[in-house]
Amino acid sequence: MSIISDVINSTKAVIKGMKITISKMPQKKWTVQYPDVPVTVQPRYRGQHLLHVDENGKEKCVACYLCAAACPSECIYIEATDDARPYEERVGRDERYAKVYNIDYGRCIFCGFCVEACPKDAITHGYNFELSVYNRADLLKTKDDLLITKQKQSKNYRVALSDEDVDSEYKEVDKVGIKFRL
């Protein structure tokens, strides 16, 4: 093999590569300038959990332990208690509520079984995804971190609309023809 054919072959390869690069340049860019620009998440994205309240701000969770029973990584810890006060005064919607409700995010695998199990629609996955901490113990989130009335929502995400496709890097963008609303 001569030097000349070497040069020709490698130039061909460079041109081939550059063709792809250049052909992508005018196309839509998928890179998001996080955290300067919010990340778009699917409506059904499974982020940090939210514990919900009813229209009067009473916690929906009745501490039935079904989520804890369903959880494959056993990361939910609940302590139930009785609250016999009238509805207006009590913490939860029902007489029974969770005095302690912890999720250990060191173990949670975001499978969503807990959400599936909940008979009261009290727990859902939220969109908060920035869960890294400096101290492992901080991965244990308590009711104060999980309640929808207390959990601070990150500014770094936006939820996609239902007809919106946000992670189609592998799809042919032109074919699908998405209009972006960033």
């Binding site: 009745v62 039935c64 079904l66 139930a80 208690t81 009785d82 016999a84 006060r85 029974r96």
Partner: protein, 740 residues
């Protein structure tokens, strides 16, 4: 039940069963599970739920297997689509008015209804009419009630009536409005909670454990009751070092008491995790000064230092402690302190009884099937509740004759065939009359009864065909106990077997008597010694005032610890391994359910540590089973016993108490006769039937830690607003407090 075997075909397989057995039980035993709600083997048949339907050849329609007794050649089918359809229809009816609020229902996870319906599957709800709805409420400080969950199986009413003899819970109203209720909307009874236990749904619930956790979250430990001498087996449900509830039976437990427990055993467990528990060893360096926290090492060496040179140290063990603890305390006295001043702080001494025992102790099953029962003194329905239940059932279901001799018309006389109402303090006269007919005249006079009554007792006993059980409360004198215990020969015949059943007051009174051999009386020990080691507390601690040095092992601050120089935190029954011996002589295991609360230690380990500090090693190597082995090696009645042999709570092991042949007890009889003759003999009877629960609900060191018991002890007042939890409204003194 007859012994005759007959053949029954179930689903094509032929089985040999005893004639007359209930079909539902035979099916369940042979793996053809039949769903049922109202059937309960220890209760009369109700047949109201219609879940147990089966097809029996040659019978029209489906039959309820809970009402059918097996007959020869019966051909039964349990698994056809026809039956499944009928059962589904029944479940649909049951659920027609059922709230299905399982997430908030405390029974969820161990609910028969939930399980039966889910395992049948395929149930559709076609009723769209609005369901009945009632507010949840409390029926008493111990029992919570949600009427709409009831499926009207009536187990609760039958238990209340048949087991407790206390018909306080009944079904009211008609048709779809039928609910289970109480008279006056408030439960005034002994609060045994057995209705809660047998209820297959979440209608009746434990109010002390209300909304605390879920059954599958609880760790279950089989253990023995720490209150009554019946040695009832129970299951401690604990989670994360806290005892949440106690039940008699969850699926895996099947002790001598079945599903029976009483108010203390079931609800009196709040003391275990109580914040008032003594947290660290405390040393009072100056008499009357403040007790100052110390480390275990310091406290033990302080104790050993003080006791090293003292002579005649008194060692007192409470009859609530485990056999292991009592035995180690005895060894501490004899081997490490060279003192023979040791005693049990029991109200009654059972030694004369066991030293003269002439027939075996009877177990609780034998009481249930006894033919004649003689109860002298005592009040089993308040102190030995399971014995009382068995007596009631023996009379009610077994046709037994129950003779009660008492100075008070106790509640149990409702079941009695004969009640001999005697003068106060005259039980000895009755024993004397029982012994010999010729004493009748004197005895009748002193007892304040007619001679004919004593004759009637004798006739009933003589006519017994089967077991004759002699029970006595603790208030008999030593001589009377000895004479009574030695008199089996007088009553025994080919047809009649005599059995004894003492009714001591504490969970381990019998065990204490067994393992602390050579003990002195408490008074003697308290008088003779200057320094003391006391496991538990004394009834009357005033005598400790003038003593030199007192060490107390306790859970809580009591009058005894107030006068103690060193207070060592002891572990409760839920934190230790050990054994108790009940009034039937059954040696039963106590098992560790939770970790030691605070810095507490088992009493035997504390005694062992003190002995080690004094230079004596018992060789226990911190193992309770080694202590028990030492007991088995030195106490003849426990010979050969080991923990593995006691593993199965459904087969309790009876200690082999020596059966003595008839002795010459003329001295005792003489003393007895003299004392009886000296009795005043004027009518001195108590005519008032005591309130149900007057002893059960009395506050003790342990139960006073449970707020609910304060309400009971205060007469169980009905709160004005039943729908608001009465539990949170009262503090431990029974005073109303604002809901927090």
């Amino acid at each position: 039940m007859s012994e005759e075997l007959i053949k029954v075909t179930i689903n094509g397989t032929e089985y040999e069963v005893e004639k007359g057995r209930r079909l539902i039980e035979v099916c369940n035993e042979n793996g053809c599970n039949i769903p049922s709600f109202c059937y309960y083997s220890d209760l009369q048949v109700q047949a109201s739920c219609r879940m147990c339907l089966v097809r029996i050849d040659k019978m029209p329609k489906l039959q309820t297997s809970c009402t059918i007794n097996c007959t020869d050649g019966m051909v039964v089918t349990t698994n056809t689509e026809e039956i499944a359809k009928a059962q589904r229809a029944m479940s649909e009816f049951l659920l027609a008015n059922h709230p299905l609020d399982c997430p908030v229902c405390d029974r969820g996870g161990e609910c028969d209804l939930q399980e039966t319906v889910m395992s049948a599957g395929n149930v559709e709800e076609r009723f769209h009419e609005p369901k009945n709805s009632f507010a949840e409420k409390f029926l008493s400080p111990m029992v919570a009630n949600d009427q709409q969950r009831c499926i009207l199986c009536k187990r609760c009413t039958r238990v209340c009536d048949e087991w407790m003899g206390e018909t306080v819970i009944e079904a009211g109203n008609r048709g779809v409005n039928t609910v289970i209720g109480t008279y006056g909307g408030w439960l005034n009874c002994s609060q045994c909670g057995n209705c809660v236990e047998v209820c297959p749904t979440g209608t009746l619930l434990d109010a002390v454990y209300r909304h605390e956790t879920r059954p599958w979250e609880l760790e279950r430990t089989v253990s023995t009751d720490v209150y009554s001498s019946d040695g009832m087996q129970l299951s401690i449900g604990s989670r994360g070092g806290k005892v949440h509830r106690i039940v008699a039976r969850d699926r895996y437990v099947n002790g001598l008491n079945g599903e029976f427990l009483d108010v203390k055993a079931r609800f009196g467990h709040e003391f275990v995790n109580h914040p008032d528990r003594i947290k660290t060893p405390l040393i009072r360096y100056k008499k009357g000064g403040k007790a100052i926290p110390a480390t275990w090492d310091d406290a033990i060496s302080f104790v050993a230092d003080k006791l090293k040179d003292s002579k005649n140290v008194g060692v007192v063990a409470s009859p609530r402690l485990t056999n292991e603890s009592i035995f180690t305390l005895k060894r501490l006295a004899t081997e490490a302190l060279n003192s023979d001043n040791y005693a049990v702080s029991d109200a009654y001494n059972l030694a004369p009884f066991f030293d003269n025992l002439s027939a075996p102790l009877c177990n609780h099953k034998e009481i249930r099937y006894a033919k004649t029962i003689l109860l002298i003194g005592g009040e089993p329905e308040e102190e030995q509740t399971y014995t009382a239940k068995q007596m009631r059932q023996a009379v009610r279901n077994g046709g037994a004759k129950l003779i009660i001799v008492n100075d008070t018309p106790i509640n149990l006389i409702k079941s009695a065939t004969q009640f001999v109402h005697v003068n106060k303090g005259s039980y000895e006269a009755f024993v004397l009359a029982l012994l010999d007919k010729k004493n009748d005249k004197v005895s009748a006079k002193k007892l304040g009864v007619d001679k004919a009554e004593l004759e009637k007792v004798r006739v009933t006993i003589a006519a017994t065909e089967g077991d004759f059980i002699i029970m006595f409360g603790g208030d008999l004198s030593a001589e009377a106990q000895a004479v009574l215990a030695n008199s089996a020969e007088k009553f025994a015949s080919d047809k009649c077997k005599v059995l004894y059943h003492p009714l001591p007051l504490y969970n381990n009174s019998v065990g204490a008597n067994d393992v602390m051999q050579g003990k002195k009386s408490l008074g003697e020990v308290l008088k003779e010694s200057k320094s003391f080691i006391i496991g538990g507390s004394l009834q009357d601690a005033n005598i400790l005032e003038e003593k030199d040095f007192v060490v107390a092992f306790e859970l809580f601050e009591t009058e005894t610890t107030d006068k103690a120089d060193v207070i060592l935190p002891a572990a409760s029954f839920a934190e230790v391994d050990g054994t108790y011996t009940n009034n039937a002589g059954n040696v039963q295991r106590v098992r560790k359910a939770i970790d030691f609360v605070n810095q507490s230690k088992p009493d035997w380990l504390i005694a062992d540590a003190i002995a080690k500090e004094l230079g004596v090693d018992f060789g226990y190597q911190s193992s309770a089973s080694a202590v028990f082995k030492a007991i088995a090696d030195s106490v003849p009645a426990y010979e050969g016993l080991r923990y593995p042999a006691l593993k199965n709570e459904s087969k309790p092991v009876q200690a082999k108490h020596t059966i003595h042949s008839a002795k010459d007890l003329s001295n005792e009889i003489k003393a007895l006769t003299e004392r009886v003759e000296a009795l005043a003999g004027e009518t001195n009877k108590n005519n008032e039937t005591p309130r149900i629960g007057h002893k059960l609900h009395r506050l003790t060191t342990l139960t006073s830690r449970t707020p609910q018991f304060h309400l009971l002890a205060n007469g169980n007042p009905k709160p004005e607003n039943l729908h608001v939890s009465p539990l949170k409204q009262f503090d431990t003194d029974g005073k109303a407090v604002a809901a927090s």
